[in-house]
Amino acid sequence: MVARAAVSATLLLLAVTECFAGEPATEALTRDATLALIGALEFPADVEVAFEQSQRNPLFSRVKKQQGIMFKTAEQGLVMRITDPRAEERTLNAGAVSLTRRERNRHGPGTRDVTRRTQLDPARPSHLVLLTLEAVLNGDASSLTTHFSVSGERRQNGWEMQLEPIADTVREQLSRIWFRGAGHQLQQFRSERDDGEGGFSHFVELTMHPPADNVTRADAP
């Protein structure tokens, strides 16, 4: 509960800061500079960060939110451990996602952990979002250019990258993905549809590797 409150407070602070920051001055980055920036950032292993994820879609009566922690290990890949409102663990690794959740036994009392694994298919918009998150957190810029046209801009208080799907079939359900950060910190990751629905992830203190100076001096805003 304390952790949840802390995360919420931090996110609120970030949102308020953004609201009162005013319209930032922006400067477009070249495609190469954008890719270089993405390629230089990598979520370091064995560091835990908190995140909040929200989503809106036609079946939800309101925006649904989940909170949890995220970390990366050499063996498992990227682990997103959701703690609220219901425990669940997602592991993103080499283009596949494993989902583990506790389910009630079918034939008797008690519960057990059930894991389902899905190989992500970039032709499916929802899978492409997860593949993109995995690529961004691994600094894998080249795989992004296969599916997206990439652009970026520098802002007064950070940077923003935009990815627009190349495939028409994907674009029907996913108009763009963007992610924002400042220095080495990836702060937001968002997927959008034309009708305004989509998913949004906020990361708290997600500091990418290598150290800020190396990245910002070369290409970063």
Binding site: L59, F60, S98, H107, S126
Partner: protein
């Protein structure tokens, strides 16, 4: 017509007959043709459905230095192969379009909907979590129409092997393929395995290919190679031996011709008598025909070295040998198994054709009905003649009593490397493949009764899955519930409470109005009076194979099989099934051993009947004492060969028993020649002829006994031991007879 002309003409006729046989010959490989009629359901499963089911159609691929993305790409490529029905791990795509129509249309009858608001809240919260993970249009539409995921759940329980993470072993990625052709369809399996290997060869890392179809294909190659190699070596050795002995091309051709003529005549005869000739019939048929090589050898050697009086007697003796061999082989026709009937017919026709050819090319006429009695051997000498055979029989019998005589475990004859089999077994466990030894059968008088009893059996096994004694089950009832269950579920739809559903949706933060397609389908199903049927499932190409494997008509009822995955406690399953009288746990290994034991008993009985008929025939043509002496020698040679096989090979298999029939034929031949009353001047020709016959047989079968392939080695060793025993017994008997 000169002898050379006769040989040339016989050669031309043989070639013509061979061409005729080749044109008509259709070879089959269905092993069930060699098995006796099944005694029970487990044996039926083994014989009638051989090559299909849990084990025989699975290929496993272990990709080394790989990752899931590459494994997925390779799986995608393999899915398009026309001989592959399924590649695991597979995605159960969250889309109604990807599901078989018959399952989607009857989804509300495939499982129970949540009963109250609380249960709906639980289920719908899971769906909301699913949507946080993947919320594209297909998933949204599927969940809106089937919020309890009854369709996906039924299909995933029915289709799943291991849970998908098991396929990801870090740097090694596993794939599992189900082949379209049955395990014994070797031509198709060879094409498939070759294509899979070509696909894997394009990647950088190593890959291991396992599974019964792979072993069968590789084995086919290695057996063909080794059989060709050893047959060639044996053939060349035999040819050299005959060339060295006769130093005449005409004689060499003359020796080979009866065997060749016998073989091709037998093949031609079978093409008229049977639609297909089994590959095993040909292989073992030629083995049994080996005895025909002796006919021209006896005739030529006696012609060269014997006296005219001795030569006149050769055919009399040979005739007895031919008749005895024909009787032994003819008993196979009454075996009850098509394959053995073919084998008996092949050997019988082949022996007669070989004998006639041998007679014709050596200017002899053969009167198989000649009933002239041979003169009896003087009584004093007869006493001395018994001891070698009695001693050999006594020692052999003692050995046979001291060791387990029969080996009914067919797996002991597999030439597949033990390490490979262990790796195979481990993979099957890792991937939760249905147990190939144990499965549950549910038998009832009608489809509906069988389905109802299967549901009860599956329900009783449920708790074992949660206690870890069983990973899962595959049953037809997962996608085809009984009519009773479907009716109850439809009645339960009447009790569906929209208020409970809406309360559950609200608790899960879902919009009830977005589930209009579900509510509509539910109302349609309430008004519907049709049911999901077996016929409708079979009409779905994607399901037909699995459905036919699991649910079929048998004898006067229906059988539903329940495959068990990850079985660790057989007793627990047996105990659980006690509450379902129609269900039984089948042990296919035990069934195969029983089947082989029945088969073996049948062969032993046939062998004894053959010996009795031969004894009768000899009794008619010779004196009783002489007949008994001849039989005793043949039986002693056979017992010695059996004892050697038991000691060297660890027991007699079915193949050894067939080899023993040949040993009996050879033993009778040798002892007939050595034991016959003849002029002393004919001794040299007889000794020479029998020695050459024995050496030629020993050469061929001795070389086969060096093979690495257990079946070849086993036949070779048994016949070689039998030839040695038969020759020595005949020779000792001869000294006793002549006093020399």
């Amino acid at each position: 017509m000169t002898a050379n002309h006769r040989v040339l003409l016989a050669l031309l006729v043989t070639v013509a007959v061979a061409a005729g046989a080749a044109l008509r010959l259709e070879i089959s490989y269905d092993l069930s043709a060699f098995l006796p009629p099944p005694g029970d359901l487990a044996q039926s499963l083994l014989t009638e459905r051989l090559g299909q089911g849990a084990g025989a159609q699975l290929v496993f691929i272990a990709l080394e230095d790989s990752n899931s993305a590459e494994a997925s790409a390779i799986a995608g490529e393999l899915r398009s192969h026309p001989l592959i029905s399924r590649v695991l791990p597979e995605e159960l795509t969250m889309s109604s379009d990807s599901l078989p129509r018959v399952l989607w249309n009857s989804r509300l009858l495939l499982g129970d909907l949540p009963a109250d608001a609380g249960a709906w809240a639980e289920v719908l919260s899971q769906r909301a979590d699913d949507l946080m993970f993947a919320a594209d249009d297909d998933t949204l539409a599927l969940i809106a129409a089937d919020p309890a995921l009854l369709s996906i759940d039924a299909l995933s329980r029915f289709a799943a092997g291991a849970s998908p993470p098991a396929f990801d072993q870090g740097s090694t990625q596993l794939l599992m393929l189900e082949t379209v052709p049955a395990g014994f369809e070797l031509a198709a399996q060879t094409r498939l395995v070759t294509d899979i290997r070509a696909t894997l060869a394009r990647r950088a890392g190593g890959a291991q290919l396992l599974g019964s179809p792979v072993y069968a294909v590789d084995l086919q190659e290695s057996v063909r190679f080794e059989a060709t190699l050893f047959s060639s070596i044996a053939g060349i050795a035999l040819l050299l031996f005959i060339v060295l002995r006769f130093r005449s091309p005409q004689r060499v051709i003359g020796v080979a011709l009866p065997l060749a003529a016998g073989g091709v005549s037998a093949m031609l005869a079978l093409t008229f008598a049977f639609d297909e000739v089994h590959g095993i019939t040909l292989a073992f048929g030629f083995t049994l025909l080996g005895v025909a090589l002796d006919y021209p050898l006896h005739l030529f050697i006696h012609a060269e070295e014997g006296t005219s009086a001795g030569n006149r007697n050769v055919w009399k003796v040979l005739r007895l040998g031919i008749l005895s061999t024909c009787i032994a082989y003819a008993t196979l026709i009454f075996s009850g198994a098509t394959g053995l009937q073919q084998l008996g017919a092949f050997a019988l026709v082949g022996i007669i054709a070989a004998a006639l050819t041998a007679a014709w090319i050596t200017h002899r006429s053969v009167d198989l009905a000649d009933t002239e009695r041979s003169p009896e051997t003087p009584p004093v000498k007869q006493v001395l003649r018994w001891w070698p055979a009695v001693t050999a029989l006594g020692v052999s019998t003692a050995v046979l009593f001291a060791f387990p005589v029969f080996n009914d475990d067919l797996s002991s004859l597999t030439p597949v490397d033990a390490n490979l089999l262990e790796a195979d077994a481990q993979l099957r466990t890792t991937l939760g493949v249905a147990d190939i030894r144990y499965l549950v059968s549910v038998k009832a008088g009608s489809q509906e009764e069988a389905l109802r009893a299967s549901e009860r059996a599956v329900a009783t096994l449920g708790p074992l899955q949660e206690s870890g004694k069983l990973v899962g089950v595959q049953s037809i009832t997962q996608i085809l519930p009984s009519r009773d269950t479907q009716s109850h579920r439809r009645e339960a739809l009447d009790a569906f409470s929209i208020e409970d559903f809406e309360a559950g949706a609200a608790a899960a933060a879902l919009e009830p109005a977005a589930f209009a397609t579900f509510i509509e389908a539910l109302e349609d199903e309430r008004d519907n009076d049709g049911f999901a049927t077996f016929t409708a499932l079979r009409d779905e190409p994607a399901l037909r194979g699995a459905v036919d494997n699991l649910f079929f008509e048998h004898a006067d009822g229906w059988v539903s099989l329940v495959f068990l995955r990850g079985l660790t406690d057989r007793e627990a399953v047996m105990a659980a099934l006690q509450s379902v009288p129609q269900a039984a746990l089948l042990d296919l290994k035990l069934a195969s051993e029983n089947l082989v034991a029945d088969y073996r008993s049948r062969l032993v009985t046939l062998l004894l009947i053959a010996l009795a008929v031969i004894a009768l025939m000899l009794g008619v043509r010779l004196s009783l004492r002489e007949s008994l002496w001849l039989l005793l020698n043949a039986v002693a040679a056979m017992a010695f060969a059996a004892a050697c096989s038991v000691v060297w090979l660890g027991g007699l298999s079915l193949f050894n028993l067939i080899a023993l029939i040949l040993v009996t034929g050879l033993g009778l031949d040798y002892v007939l020649f050595y034991g016959r009353e003849r002029p002393r001047t004919d001794d040299r020709a007889t000794a020479c002829a029998v020695l050459i016959c024995a050496v030629s047989s020993l050469l061929v079968f001795g070389i086969l006994s060096l093979s690495e392939i257990p079946v070849l080695r086993s036949i070779g060793a048994t016949v070689a031991a039998g030839v040695i025993a038969a020759y020595l017994l005949a020779r000792f008997g001869r000294y006793a007879n002549t006093g020399s």
